[in-house]
C-alpha cells in the first residue's frame, strides 16, 4: 500500500542510526577490513562498547571465557555478528520503552518481548534448516515489526486509532491498518530501514514479513521470519499490537518444508533461546 505524502515527509525528520553504527556497517562490507579498524570506531561510543561487551558475554553466546575488548569480541564472534549487535542495540536506543507518550496503548516492553522471541525463533529455525547465517536471521526477526514502533513514536495519534480499532473489533493489526487506508507498518519499516542503510536482507524481511511470496530475493530468510512471527504469536510470547494469530502463508510453509514434529521440538527450544537473549530485553527496558 502506498504511504501518504504526509507520512513520507515526517519520515524525513526521523532520527538516523548513530554514525558509529553506519560506519561499522560500511567497514564490514570490505573483506579486507582489519579488526582494529572496527574496534577503533566502536571505542568512540563508550556506551555502545559496554553494551556490545554485555551482549557478547551474555548467555546468548555462552562463550566460556570473559571477553574484555571489542577486538576480542570481533575475533570470536566475527565481524558480521558484531555489526548486527551494534545495529540491534542502536535500534533499541532510538525507541526506548520509556520514551512512549502518556496515552499509551502500545506496550513497548511486550513489543520488544515479541520481537526478541521472533529473532530467537528465526535463528533457531535458521540453524535447523542450515541457513548460512543464523545471526543475520536473528536481527531480521528482531527488527521485523520496527514499523510499528516508528508509527507509535512519530505518528502516535493515527497509530492509536489503529490499535483501538484492532482491539475493539478484535482484528489483526494488519487488517486494522488496511481499514485505516494510509497505514502500513511493513512499508514504513521498509522505508526507514532503507534510509538507515540497513542491509538489503533486513529491509526485505521487514517489508515482506506478512507476505513471504512478495519478494524474489532472500526468500528463505523472509519465510523464516514470517513463520517465526506466527509461531511466537501461537506461543503468546510478548505482544505486537494484537493477540490474534495470523495465518501461516503457504509460500513460507512450502519453503521451509517443516514437519509437525519439528514444531514441538522448536517450541521447547524457543523458551531456552528467548532466555538467552535476555540481555536485549534489559536494553529495551532500561535505555
Amino acid at each position: 500500500m502506498p504511504i501518504s505524502e504526509n507520512l513520507l515527509k515526517k519520515i524525513e525528520t526521523l532520527p538516523t542510526l548513530p554514525i558509529v553504527v553506519t560506519r561499522i556497517m560500511q567497514l564490514v562490507e570490505n573483506p579486507k577490513t582489519a579488526a582494529v579498524e572496527i574496534s577503533k570506531v566502536v571505542s568512540l561510543d563508550p556506551a555502545l562498547t559496554v553494551k556490545i561487551l554485555k551482549i557478547v558475554n551474555s548467555a546468548y553466546y555462552g562463550f566460556p571465557k570473559q571477553i574484555t575488548t571489542v577486538t576480542h569480541a570481533i575475533m570470536i564472534l566475527g565481524f558480521e555478528d558484531v555489526k548486527n549487535i551494534a545495529m540491534g542495540i542502536s535500534v533499541f536506543d532510538i525507541f526506548k520503552a520509556k520514551g512512549a507518550a502518556s496515552d499509551v496503548i502500545f506496550d513497548r516492553v511486550a513489543f520488544w518481548q515479541h520481537s526478541i522471541a521472533v529473532g530467537a525463533c528465526t535463528k533457531l529455525l535458521a540453524k535447523k534448516l542450515r541457513y548460512k547465517n543464523p545471526e543475520e536471521a536473528f536481527i531480521c526477526g528482531l527488527l521485523h515489526d520496527i514499523g510499528k514502533i516508528i508509527l507509535d513514536q512519530y505518528f502516535h495519534d493515527e497509530f492509536n486509532k489503529v490499535m483501538k480499532l484492532a482491539r475493539d473489533e478484535n482484528l489483526l493489526f494488519i487488517n486494522a491498518e488496511k481499514r485505516m487506508n494510509d497505514m502500513d507498518h511493513a512499508e514504513i519499516g521498509r522505508v526507514v530501514a532503507k534510509r538507515w542503510g540497513l542491509p538489503q536482507a533486513i529491509v526485505e524481511c521487514i517489508a515482506n514479513h506478512h507476505n513471504p511470496a512478495g519478494s524474489e530475493t532472500n526468500v528463505m530468510l523472509i519465510a523464516l521470519v514470517h513463520a517465526s512471527d506466527v509461531f511466537c504469536k501461537i506461543q503468546k510470547i510478548g505482544n505486537s499490537g494484537d493477540m490474534l494469530v495470523p495465518q501461516l502463508q503457504k509460500a513460507a510453509w512450502d519453503q521451509l518444508k517443516l514437519q509437525p514434529t519439528d514444531l514441538t521440538k522448536l517450541y521447547e527450544e524457543l523458551n531456552e533461546e528467548v532466555k538467552k537473549a535476555d540481555t536485549f530485553m534489559e536494553f529495551a527496558k532500561t535505555t
Binding site: P18, I19, V20, T22, R23, V28, E29, N30, P31, K32, T33, A34, A35, V36, S39, L44, D45, Y61, G62, F63, P64, K65, T71, H72, M75, I76, L77, G78, F79, R130
Partner: protein
C-alpha cells in the same frame, strides 16, 4: 571528540571525489579478496584430489594454512566422540609450551564452543607479552565434528582482517570434508576387506559341508557350486559357475532340476513355503552309477522375494551301502533260522525212528526194523547233504576256495549226471533226455564242481516237473568261444518276479509244489557261485506253468 562530531567529519567532510575513491577501494578489495578465495579453493581442490591418505592430506592442509596465516606452530586434531577428546594427528613446531596452551584451550571449553558455533575464532595469547594469538578452526561437516585445527601465530588479533576469518572457515569446512572422505575411504577399504573375509569364510563353510550345494538364480544361472557338488557331478566349479544349469549339468540331473525350478518359478504353487521337497536321481559318470538325493528350497531376499533356489545334493551311495548291509544282516538271520529248521526236520525223524527202534529192539519184526533203519539212513544222508551244501556255500562265499582245474569231457559228464538222477526221475515219472555231440574238445574246469552244477540243474528240473509225463531235455552246444549246456523242463515254471531271486540263499519259489519237494534252498546259490568262478553265465527263462530253461554258458578259455 563527540560521536556526533565524528559522524559529521566522516560523512559530511568527505568530498564526492573522495567518496568515489572510497567506493573504488572497497571494490578493489572485494575483487582481490575474491581472487584470494578462489586461489585457496583451487589449491585445496588440487591437493585433496591427490590421495585418500590422511597424513598427506593433513600435510597439505598445513601447507595451505602456512601460506595464509604464517603460523609458528600448528596442531591438527581429530575429535574422539566417545572419549570427548582431541587427538593430535599432524603437528608442526608444537613444543611443550604450545602443547600446554592447546590443552588449556580445550580444557576451557573454547574448542567445543568454536565447534558449537561453527566458526573459527582468534584468541589473544593471555600469557605472552608479545602480540601472539591462538587460532581455533573447527573441522565440521554437516553431520558431524571431525576435529579442530589449532595454530599459534606471531600476529596480533587486531591485525586480522575479516577475510582471514572467512578463509579459516572455508578451509575448515573443506578440510573436514576431505578428512571425512579419507576416513570413509579407509573404512570402505576395511569394509571391503571384511566382506571379502566373510565371503571366504562362508565359502570355506560351504566347501567343507558334507552336502553338495548348488545355488541357481531365477534365470537358471549357477551362482554357487561347492566342492562336494563338484565331486558328485564330476564337474569343476569354474566350468559351471555363471552358466545356465541345463547347458552344463548331466541330463538326468537337469530333468529333475527343471521340474523343481518350474515349481518354484510358477509362484511356488506346488510348494508350501517351508517345505523341503526331495528328488532322487541316478546317473552314470565314468562307468559308475551315482545315486544322488536332491533337496531344494527357495532362496529369499529381504522382502521375501524369491531370488533363486538352493539345491542340496547328497551322495546316497553310502546310505545305500548301509541299507544293503542291513539286508545282508537280515538274510543272515533268516539263514540261521532256515538252517536250524532244515537241520531239525531230519534230526527229528532220525531221533523218532531211532527211539522206536530202541523200543522194538530184540523183537522178531526185522522188516520194520530194516524199514526204520533205511529212513534213518536217508535222513542222515539229507543232513549230510545239507551240511555239505552249507559248507560249500560258506567256502564259496568267503572266497576260501580254490578251483581244482582238470580237463573235463562234457558229453560224458552229462551222460553220467543223467544216469545218477535216473532213479529220482523214475520215481517222479519224468524222462531225462540228453542230446550232445559225441566229440567236443575237453573243457578246462573244476570238473567235480561243474558236475555238481549240472546235477543240481537236472535234479531241479526233475523235482519241479509236472507230476506225470514230465520231460527234461539236456543238451550241449559248442559255439566259437563257449560251451552251452541247456536244461529244459516241462515243469511248473516260475513267476517273473521270482527270477531275480532264485540264486539267493534259501530262496524258494512260493508255491504249493515247493512245499512238497524237499530242498535246502542252497542249490542255485552254490551253482551261481561256481559258475561265476568259472567266468560263466547262468541264464534262466521261465514263465509260470510253462516250464523253465536254464542255460549254462562256460567260456572255453
Amino acid at each position: 571528540m563527540a560521536i556526533q562530531e565524528l559522524g559529521e567529519l566522516e560523512l559530511k567532510n568527505i568530498s564526492d571525489a573522495q567518496k568515489v575513491d572510497l567506493l573504488r577501494k572497497v571494490n578493489t578489495d572485494l575483487k582481490s579478496s575474491l581472487d584470494d578465495i578462489i586461489s585457496i579453493l583451487t589449491k585445496f581442490s588440487e591437493a585433496i584430489s591427490i590421495k585418500f591418505d590422511l597424513k598427506t592430506l593433513l600435510d597439505l592442509v598445513s601447507d595451505i594454512l602456512k601460506d595464509i596465516i604464517k603460523y609458528k606452530a600448528i596442531a591438527v586434531t581429530i575429535y574422539d566422540k566417545e572419549r570427548d577428546s582431541f587427538n593430535y594427528m599432524a603437528l608442526r613446531n608444537v613444543d611443550l609450551v604450545i602443547d600446554s596452551k592447546i590443552k588449556n584451550i580445550i580444557k576451557d571449553g573454547l574448542a567445543h564452543w568454536s565447534i558449537s558455533q561453527k566458526r573459527s575464532i582468534v584468541l589473544p595469547d593471555a600469557e605472552s607479552n608479545v602480540e601472539f594469538t591462538v587460532l581455533i578452526v573447527p573441522l565440521i561437516t554437516q553431520m558431524e565434528t571431525v576435529g579442530v585445527i589449532f595454530m599459534y601465530c606471531n600476529k596480533s588479533a587486531e591485525s586480522f582482517m575479516q577475510q582471514d576469518l572467512e578463509f579459516l572457515n572455508i578451509i575448515g569446512a573443506q578440510s573436514a570434508i576431505a578428512i571425512k572422505n579419507t576416513f570413509l575411504y579407509n573404512e570402505m577399504g576395511q569394509k571391503n576387506q571384511d566382506l571379502a573375509n566373510l565371503k571366504n569364510y562362508l565359502n570355506d563353510v560351504i566347501d567343507n559341508m558334507v552336502t553338495g550345494v548348488m545355488v541357481l538364480d531365477m534365470e537358471g544361472f549357477v551362482k554357487t557350486f561347492n566342492n562336494v557338488a563338484e565331486s558328485l557331478v564330476c564337474l569343476k566349479a569354474p566350468a559351471v559357475l555363471g552358466k545356465k544349469y541345463d547347458t552344463i549339468l548331466p541330463m538326468s540331473i537337469c530333468e529333475k532340476i527343471t521340474v523343481a525350478f518350474d515349481l518354484v518359478k510358477n509362484g511356488q504353487n506346488g510348494m508350501a513355503p517351508n517345505s523341503n521337497p526331495e528328488i532322487e536321481v541316478e546317473y552314470i559318470e565314468t562307468g559308475k552309477t551315482i545315486p544322488i538325493r536332491i533337496s531344494y528350497n527357495c532362496l529369499k531376499g529381504n522382502n521375501s522375494k524369491v531370488l533363486g533356489i538352493i539345491f542340496m545334493l547328497r551322495d546316497m551311495s553310502e546310505s545305500r551301502e548301509i541299507q544293503r548291509l542291513r539286508e545282508i544282516d537280515k538274510i543272515k538271520s533268516e539263514l540261521v533260522a532256515n538252517v536250524s529248521h532244515e537241520l531239525r526236520t531230519p534230526l527229528t525223524s532220525i531221533k523218532a525212528y531211532a527211539e522206536t527202534l530202541l523200543d522194538i529192539a530184540g523183537t522178531e519184526d526185522v522188516d520194520t526194523q530194516k524199514e526204520f533203519l533205511n529212513i534213518i539212513c536217508q535222513e542222515s544222508e539229507r543232513l549230510t547233504n545239507l551240511i555239505s551244501n552249507l559248507l560249500d556255500l560258506s567256502r564259496l562265499e568267503s572266497g576260501d576256495f580254490k578251483l581244482d582245474i582238470s580237463e573235463a569231457n562234457l558229453p560224458e559228464m552229462l551222460k553220467k549226471c543223467a544216469l545218477l538222477l535216473k532213479e529220482l526221475a523214475a520215481q517222479k515219472g519224468v524222462a531225462i533226455k540228453v542230446d550232445s555231440p559225441q566229440q567236443v574238445p575237453a573243457l578246462k574246469c573244476d570238473a567235480a564242481k561243474i558236475e555238481q552244477v549240472v546235477i543240481n540243474l537236472i535234479s531241479n528240473a526233475v523235482k519241479y516237473n509236472k507230476p506225470e509225463g514230465g520231460k527234461v531235455d539236456v543238451s550241449l552246444k559248442e559255439t566259437r568261444s563257449n560251451f552251452e549246456i541247456v536244461v529244459k523242463d516241462t515243469g511248473i515254471g516260475m513267476p517273473k518276479e521270482a527270477l531275480g531271486k532264485i540264486f539267493e540263499k534259501f530262496y524258494r519259489v512260493d508255491s504249493s509244489l515247493t512245499y512238497q519237494v524237499s530242498g535246502t534252498g542252497l542249490g542255485l546259490a552254490i551253482v551261481k557261485h561256481i559258475v561265476d568262478r568259472h567266468n560263466g553265465q547262468l541264464l534262466v527263462e521261465s514263465a509260470l506253468n510253462a516250464g523253465s530253461t536254464f542255460t549254462l554258458v562256460l567260456p572255453k578259455s
